[in-house]
């Protein structure tokens, strides 16, 4: 009559997947993300013209509308748009991964420390975080980009610098409410070290919210990255980047519309994928980010 307890971890996973898969959007999001990751990993083999992703010109075939063999057409110097879009995804994913790898551990660590150790560490960390959060993110990124060379590395630096405070605030809030939980106090009584408590008791309970936010942030970072590139402040030519491609093609509107429209749609797709996936995770984990 009562469900027999299966191996608890497996049952938990099964239940999570069940809840996740009920939401069609989440599954679509997961599918998109997986497809894009596979596509970018095997890009050199899956794209028809991998050489077009680097410095390449072919004026004979420049400005061709979508058709064979150029599925999405070519740009003004003859490069296949489809190939460049796929390789452009590589830069999008790279930006997202690098920014989050830099920002998330920093932010999470600071949030753990601030939430666990009350008193002046908390005050100092949270005041700095508040100030960073009050600074308009774009102003900060632009200011940094303004003085440094506009390229991908500096763009990543700029975006990371403005990203970590969100994680600090999120984790700080979680830790503040978790530190009064029974198991934390039990660990303290038993004499566990703070490192153990933070890393083994508290952190695992913050993970669902952090992971959800990371997924949603991938979407947002890619959006911001493409916006910076569009303005000329991110990835530089001849490297393919979706934002740069849209900017380049904008000059030739409306005649050579495919040069802008397809990269633009590509941005839409990848951001959509991560957003749906993130929303799905948020529903499944029941967290607020």
């Amino acid at each position: 009559m009562n469900a027999v307890a299966v191996a608890p971890a497996r049952e938990h996973l099964r239940r999570t997947w069940y809840a996740f898969s009920r939401n069609g959007g989440s599954v679509v999001g997961l599918g998109i993300v997986v497809a894009i990751v596979l596509l970018t990993t095997f890009a050199p083999w899956l794209t028809p013209f991998p050489r077009h992703a680097r410095a390449f010109t072919d004026f004979e075939h420049a400005g061709l509308p979508p058709g064979r063999p150029y599925a999405l057409g070519t740009d003004t110097i003859g490069r296949d748009i489809f190939t460049r879009v796929v390789f452009g995804y590589r830069f999008s994913l790279l930006l997202g991964v690098v920014v989050l790898t830099a920002a998330v551990p920093t932010g999470v660590l600071l949030g753990l420390l601030a939430g666990y150790y009350r008193g002046w560490p908390e005050t100092v960390i949270m005041r700095i975080t508040d100030i960073f959060l009050s600074i308009p993110p774009l102003a900060l990124a632009l200011a940094i980009m303004a003085v440094l060379q506009p390229n991908l590395q500096n763009a990543m630096l700029a975006v990371s610098a403005m990203w970590w405070p969100w994680y600090t605030r999120l984790v700080y809030g979680l830790v503040s409410s978790l530190r009064t939980e029974g198991y934390v106090q039990a660990a303290q009584i038993v004499g566990a070290s703070p490192a153990h408590i933070l890393l083994r008791e508290i952190l695992p309970n913050c993970l669902p919210a952090v992971l959800t936010k990371m997924t949603l942030d991938m979407a947002f970072v890619i959006l911001i990255g493409s916006s910076l590139s569009f303005l000329g402040l991110g990835v530089q030519p001849p490297d393919p980047d979706l934002g740069t491609m849209v900017a380049d093609g904008a000059k030739y509107m409306p005649d050579l519309w495919w040069i802008s429209v397809f990269p633009g749609l590509a941005i839409l797709v990848i951001v959509l994928g991560f957003s749906l996936l993130g929303d799905g995770l948020r529903d499944v984990f029941g967290v607020e980010v």
Binding site: L138, V147, S227, G232
Partner: protein, 343 residues
């Protein structure tokens, strides 16, 4: 503690943030390699000219003195001269900022006037076709960057259909706004120049729709999510048990609590409009501060960059302050806690 004391504290904190921002910009600006005076004067300048400019810019004095001059200049409104326009940056700001402000304001208006009701409708008729449509459309709105919308809308409406102008703020030949406020809205209406105002609106549609679309979509999604969440709360069921009518429940008992989380994020979205304005102004050649900002960044025009960043910072800080006040008004629990924390 009294609410007014809390207010003063928040104002002081905002000032502190602006100060911090100014220091940050100053530090970054001094980090760049190269001699600012030489860059300003160009490669043909003579040694004495450079020396003179260096003295004028106080470049040989200790860092804290330089900051003091810089801060004094900021407070006076003197941002120096722009390499790009060769005019005082302050004048550039005065000319261009109102246009951006106008664009952002109308976009924000769209966000609230269209986004929130859409969200309410989707929540009230949950899981019917209205809800699904709104959710789908808002999803598309949120994930698409503003510049993609700008280009697509331009393609469709300005080129293909030809109904709306391609770029700019006013058609040539129409009287540009006077120096009074710099905004077409106020100037044209005050002068009774309806034709100019209508022409301005025609030019405004594409840029402000592109700019606000993500915000409208976000507003709809947030409002819907908030209201759905509130709808499940016990006090709504209690209100129903007391016989309060469904419409009153939706528009009063659900709406106000729903607005609390929504307003915070919407406020941030509104402030973020300024960031996205960079993209939209570039595409539509809108004569605003954001497009100017892009140009000066690409040209490393330090004085102008500083000014643009500080103005954006000021805008942000003011918006944040208003959000805090609004949230405090909406949720008495937060207002009471705010007063407690400040005590």
């Amino acid at each position: 503690m009294r609410y007014s004391t809390f207010l003063i504290q928040r104002v002081l904190l905002s000032v502190l943030v602006l100060l911090g921002l100014s220091i940050l910009i100053f530090v970054i600006a001094r980090v760049i390699p190269g001699d600012p005076a030489r860059i300003a004067l160009g490669p043909l300048a003579s040694r004495s000219q450079i020396e003179a400019l260096r003295a004028q810019m106080h470049l040989d004095e200790p860092l804290y003195a330089q900051y003091a001059y810089y801060l004094a200049g900021l407070l006076r409104g003197d941002f120096g001269e722009s390499l790009y326009t060769h005019r005082a940056v302050a004048i550039d700001l005065r000319d261009l900022f109102p246009a951006t402000l106008e664009l952002v304001f109308y976009s924000g208006l769209l966000m609230v006037v269209i986004g929130v009701p859409l969200g309410i409708v989707a929540a009230v008729w949950r899981d019917r076709w209205v809800d699904h449509t709104v959710r789908l459309v808002s999803l598309a709105g949120v994930v698409t960057p503003a510049f993609v919308w700008a280009i697509v809308l331009m393609l469709v409406f300005a080129y293909a259909l030809g109904v709306l102008p391609v770029a700019g703020r006013l058609s040539p030949g129409l009287v540009p706004p006077s120096a009074a406020t710099g905004t077409v809205t106020l100037d044209a209406l005050l002068a009774g120049n309806l034709r100019a105002y209508l022409d301005f609106l025609r030019h405004l549609i594409l840029p402000s729709v592109s700019l606000s679309l993500a915000g409208v979509a976000q507003a709809a999604r947030l409002t819907r999510a908030s209201m759905v969440d509130v709808a499940g709360r016990p006090y709504i069921e209690a209100a129903r048990a007391f016989g309060i009518s469904e419409s009153r429940i939706a528009l009063k008992y659900m709406l106000k609590p729903s607005m609390i989380p929504t307003v915070t994020i919407l406020g941030l979205d509104f402030a973020a409009l300024l960031g996205n304005a960079f993209l939209v102004e570039s595409v539509f050649a809108w004569p605003g501060i954001a497009r100017y900002g892009v140009e000066v960044i690409l040209r490393k025009d330090l004085n102008a960059i500083v000014a643009v960043v500080m103005i954006m910072g000021l805008f942000f800080v003011v918006i944040n302050f208003c959000i805090d006040m609004l949230v405090g008004y909406l949720d008495p629990r937060i207002r009471l806690r705010q007063m407690e924390d400040a005590a």
